[in-house]
Symmetry: C2
Subunit: 264 residues, 2 copies
């Protein structure tokens, strides 16, 4: 059985092609594929590479921001449950997922049956999200992916007392003006994101293993700061952006199998 | 009896010279007089203009951010109570004070005895403070005091859905890019500050009369938006920045009078 999971985000679309609910036979990511045009394109690409056509796919499950407007889909599911399912598939021991994206942060708690038990989300405040890092990288005139390396060189992370992105921006500017090293300031910036998200995580309740996903998971500075704050090791993966699509493809498989059983 | 009230803020110092607790005989404001150097200077200026020396003053009361480090003071009092006292002196019917400063916002409820009964403050988030307006004026490349005039020309205020300063900044940029008029965007910006502060005010409880102070009180766009939100007329005064110093001078008088009575 072939199923396809597609995660239509606000800035990227991701697609996973799955065989029998367990073997990934195609994967694709498209940045800036805004709306469902990007999603259609990415689906065609993944099919073409696998030398398949739409008719070969038993079930297409959509998730993410644009999931409701994607005609080729047979069903749609929330990001949260798809994301959790994808992470559990690749890392069955995970019980807490910390997802820091470009504009929001979420913490998901999963029980031993693999069911989403509790979650909290911040999508109202730029502090503790990727946007905080963007703002700071902009002040520092530095590409965002350089923050990690530089943070590692810090001796004593600068203390940024404001949580607010706007007030922290002024703090950072004045720290640099008074001679604080860029490395220490960057480490302070990573700590700030970590401490904000740790607050969210503590309210949800941390249970090991902890997995980090979302764009900010790629930033070792924040990841390590979070490990310190929460006093637990944090797993992550370079393909964590694909977890939603993977979860959707698995759900599609489960859905289709259930239908098969009912029709027997 | 001569008393002096001095309000030592983070960016401005203000000073009021009071005769017998009721007649203002000197007033001075100094911008960017950071620390107590500015405060000493402003005190000397007010005394000199009134042809008085320090020894002529019966009591000096300090308030504001830097009040604890001002040697010439005989006593110190919190901004909140001085501010309330100053407003009540000039506007005895006031029961609610909405103070929006450059970095914070406060709402004070005063009971019929003139005592501060309840208050709430936001000094953690730039939204709903003067800083929000600064950020927006910067995007619009417009001096902050131009916002009022331009807001008045708006036909349909733009709807800014994000509360967060950082997210609202992106919204404003994209609204301007998609052809929204600057006037409507500015009116939307004023509404955003007003609705955030109105939330604070509603939690404290509004009772008329309502008085607005702080730097943002000078911005008619925000003031009128607040009137609409709260459905009450809002008083204000061009000298509202002096209220803390005035309250301090009145408290100095009360203090000194009490001491006089005790010593009689
Ligand atoms: S605290 Fe700062 S970053 Fe957070 S919502 Fe307020 S303005 Fe935005």
């Amino acid at each position: 059985m072939l199923t396809l999971g597609i995660d239509i985000g606000s800035t990227t679309s991701k697609c996973i092609l799955l065989e029998n609910g367990e073997r990934i036979i195609g994967t694709e990511l498209l940045v800036a594929g805004i709306g469902t045009i990007g999603a259609e394109k990415i689906m065609e690409t993944v099919l073409k590479k696998a030398q398949l056509s739409r008719d070969d796919i038993d079930y297409v499950m959509a998730t993410g921001y644009g999931r409701r407007n994607f005609d080729p889909a047979h069903g749609e599911l929330s990001e949260l449950s798809c994301h959790a399912k994808g992470v559990l598939f690749t890392n069955p021991q995970v019980r807490t997922i910390i997802d820091i994206g470009g504009q929001d942060a979420k913490v998901l708690r999963i029980n031993d049956k693999g069911v989403l038990e509790n979650f909290m989300m911040n999508d109202k405040c730029a502090a503790g999200t990727g946007r905080f890092l963007d703002v700071m990288a902009n002040i520092l005139q530095m590409p965002i992916n350089e923050l990690e390396k530089r943070a590692e060189l810090s001796e004593i992370p600068a203390k940024i007392s404001s949580t607010c992105t706007v007030f922290a921006e002024s703090e950072v500017i004045s720290q640099l003006a008074t001679g604080e090293t860029v490395e220490n300031v960057i480490a302070g910036i990573c700590n700030s994101v970590a401490s904000r998200v740790a607050g969210l995580a503590k309210r949800v309740g941390i249970k090991e293993e902890v997995f980090m996903s979302g764009g900010v998971a790629q930033n070792g500075g924040v990841r390590k700061a979070l490990e310190k704050e929460l006093k637990v090791p944090i797993k992550w993966s370079e393909t964590s952006q694909m977890m939603g699509a993977l979860g959707a493809a698995i759900s599609a498989y489960e859905q289709e199998k259930k239908r098969g059983v009912l029709n027997e």
